[in-house]
Symmetry: C2
Subunit: 119 residues, 2 copies
Amino acid sequence: MNAASYQQLDRVIHERGRLAIMSLLAATTELPFTGIRDALEMTDGNVTTHLRTLQEAGYLAVTKSFQNGRPHTTAALTVTGRKAFRHHVDLLARIVERARSGPSLEPGVMSGSRLRPQT
Amino acid sequence: MNAASYQQLDRVIHERGRLAIMSLLAATTELPFTGIRDALEMTDGNVTTHLRTLQEAGYLAVTKSFQNGRPHTTAALTVTGRKAFRHHVDLLARIVERARSGPSLEPGVMSGSRLRPQT
DNA sequence: GAAAACACTTTGTATTGCAAAGTGAACGGA
DNA sequence: TCCGTTCACTTTGCAATACAAAGTGTTTTC
């Protein structure tokens, strides 16, 4: 694990709002649209788009139905989603842990060894 | 601490690339431009813009000089930056911890108590 | 029966992450 | 001494997208 492993941070999950949704769903089993919106104090539009993004990534199972004449949407993590989230969280934990260890290296040791990303 | 505390996640710090830079600088004292770029395998342009963003937020002290006829840029966390990063990391740690605890609540408990963000 | 509430979705915009291209100085070979 | 290359960045262009305001359709309330 080198410092550049941050590249592995899944952008779909990492975004603030979606990290919150994934986090929330990871702690429960299934939640309604309104539950997510209220728990996270998110706007409706925000929830809709994030749910769609997460669903399209295969991380969420979203079910839409009508109950007493009103739309009812629920979301739950898929197995893939749970795995991806766990992986993300592990990465974050490692980054955080390393950061917490505090200053240790001398300044300047990182120079040299030029290595551009392939274009 | 409620679930909506994700709102406190500092967007300047939270972005992947910048989280990596902050993380890297938190573990050392000061690094040159090229050190950051190489350690994180980031493109030059990316490093420049992220450094600027972090500097404008007051999180980084960036010094630019010429050494043997070449520009030499270094970056280090400011006290504010170190504090903000620590706070961010603490928040992440809490989110991560709660997520790690696994399913516990019943589905449906989060409904009701509508509370829109002020517009 | 008009108006408000509810559960969403769509739209518009303003931001911004990213890499390709650009800049300018120094160095290396022919 | 010219020409190309390397180095250390900065600027530019664009595609993606986070966000909230406005919109939709139903249902309840007064």
